[in-house]
């Protein structure tokens, strides 16, 4: 199956010189559900911003749905194929009604009004917001509802890849369950960055473990999360819901192989 996201030998430094990502290589194919985990400062959010075309200066290669993020044109067009939901949903809301806010992205794509309305209706339905929510002021909604509006705003753009940065950070357990249900209903390739490892376990099949900007593990979610020495070494804990037997098996299985880059070296 063709790659939807191709990242090879990616390095990124912030303008002040701090290295955020180092020699990152991984690929995602259509339909994959990937969790991005790691301690604070591991580079998870930076990686998501970079994949969304928001950070221009990096070395290595990154392509999303055929868009080369090294080029200005690629970064400007990537939002047509990739949507990102930020950690603080309120920061993502721009307009004074839910309807206007969800329609913002599709209108920017230059779609006809009828299509925009169809997409807005479908997106609101997919996140469980009914017709009465359209004229509500998003800033007056609960954190969980704001999160749904933010997801609807991105889903309405019909992306092939969905990035979610700490989607459970301001949600109560009910909101978290709702989010799991919403994500189950969205058949989109996705990368979810989260400290909530139970949530990652529920919503992802594969996991990438980052630490200090480097990829230290890439494999099936249960196998990585159950590997106690690996998790402890990188400042994480094995989710309590994983059985002792799973932990034991994962630990015995040893370290996970990292993907081997198979494409030409980049010019940088």
């Amino acid at each position: 199956m063709s790659c939807l996201v191709e990242v090879e030998h990616l390095h990124f430094r912030y303008p002040e010189g701090r290295a955020a990502l180092g020699d990152l290589t991984f690929h995602l194919t259509h339909g994959e559900r990937v969790g991005l985990i790691g301690p604070n400062g591991a580079g998870k959010t930076t990686l998501l911003l970079l994949l969304a075309g928001l950070l221009p200066e990096f070395s290595g290669s990154a392509r999303v749905a055929g868009h080369d993020l090294q080029t200005r044109a690629g970064r400007q067009q990537v939002h047509r194929q990739l949507g990102i939901v930020f950690q603080h949903a309120e920061d993502q809301i721009l307009h004074a009604t839910v309807l206007d806010d969800v329609a913002f992205g599709p209108l920017n794509l230059g779609l006809p009004e009828a299509e925009v309305r169809r997409r807005v209706n479908a997106a609101l339905a997919s996140v469980g917001l009914d017709d009465t929510a359209r004229d509500r002021v998003p800033f007056h909604l609960s954190a969980g509802e704001q999160r749904r509006v933010a997801i609807a705003g991105v889903v309405a753009m019909a992306p092939q890849v969905l990035l979610l940065d700490e989607p459970t950070s301001d949600l109560d357990p009910r909101g978290r369950r709702e989010l799991v249900r919403i994500l189950e209903g969205l058949p989109i390739t996705r990368i979810i960055s989260s400290h909530n490892l139970e949530f990652v376990l529920e919503t992802c099949d594969r996991v990438l473990l980052l630490d200090e900007g480097r990829l230290v593990a890439d494999g099936p979610v249960r196998r990585v999360l159950a590997n106690e020495p690996l998790m402890l070494r990188h400042g994480l804990e094995v989710p309590a819901c994983l059985s002792a037997e799973e932990r034991h098996k994962a630990t015995l299985a040893g370290p996970l192989p990292l993907p081997v880059p198979h494409v030409h070296p980049h010019p940088h």
């Binding site: 721009l94 329609a103 992205g105 920017n108 009004e113 309305r117």
Partner: protein
């Protein structure tokens, strides 16, 4: 704050139903005429008319009164100071010397400013910001200016939110914002920290708008209503502006 400005902007009223493009142009002309009035009769009529516009907006009286009272904090000092600082036509009230010309200028200034505040409130509180900005865009205001206005509108609410959270943080730790030298340093810190935090949040907001394809062009699902009723409203407003100007500057004055 963002929600507060638009709280009643969708409330059904003749003012709200007025096509935003015609409303912007007509009220801009009215504003220019109001600002140029020189005579008290025309300024009084202008102020009454502008307050009448607010009534047409069917905005809650309490909501309007609070904002008009806040505006007095800027208007009243001039009303009090001008009669004391002018020298022409002295009027003595006991040992206090006032100026007849100063009183006239103060009244004129007050009425004109009140009218301008009322017109601005009528425009802003009866028009959803998105419609207002789209109207400006259609009236050929540069795209960058309109985009800046949209983001400023959004950023102001971010800034207000940060200040409010910082104020709570101070209050919960026993800080009292009474005016005393010991309070200056923490208050300066609050302003600094709130600005830095707002900068971070506005950066996230900028990322969010860019990732949803925003390039500066504002689009919306709602169409401008147009039609004869809107032309009539604009014509009435422009007619009123012309009438005021004639009353103030026309033949016989």
């Amino acid at each position: 704050m963002q929600a507060e400005v638009e709280r009643f902007a969708r409330r059904a009223s003749p003012l709200q139903a007025w096509d935003a493009r015609g409303k912007v142009v007509s009220l801009a002309v009215l504003t220019l005429v109001l600002a140029s009035l020189d005579g008290l009769p025309a300024a009084t009529l202008g102020a009454v008319g502008a307050l009448g516009l607010l009534v047409c907006g069917r905005l809650p009286l309490r909501f309007l009164a609070r904002r008009l009272v806040a505006a007095q904090a800027f208007l009243l000092p001039c009303l009090l100071v001008l009669p004391l600082t002018f020298t022409a036509e002295p009027l003595w009230i006991g040992r206090l010397r006032l100026s007849g010309e100063g009183l006239r200028v103060a009244a004129l200034f007050y009425l004109r400013a009140l009218a301008l505040v009322a017109v601005a409130m009528a425009l802003v509180y009866s028009t959803p910001m998105l419609n207002l900005l789209r109207a400006l865009q259609e009236l050929r205001l540069p795209r960058i200016v309109v985009a800046l206005a949209l983001l400023t509108h959004r950023y102001l609410s971010t800034l207000a939110g940060e200040f409010s959270r910082m104020r709570w943080a101070l209050a919960t730790r026993g800080f009292s914002p009474r005016p005393r030298p010991a309070a200056w340093r923490p208050l300066a810190n609050v302003v600094g920290v709130a600005l830095v935090r707002s900068l971070e949040r506005t950066e996230r907001l900028q990322h969010a708008t860019r990732s949803r394809g925003f390039t500066g062009q504002i689009h919306a699902l709602q169409r401008f209503p147009g039609g004869p009723a809107n032309w009539l409203k604009s014509a009435a407003c422009l007619g009123a502006a012309a009438g005021l100007w004639l009353l103030d500057r026309g033949p016989g004055t």
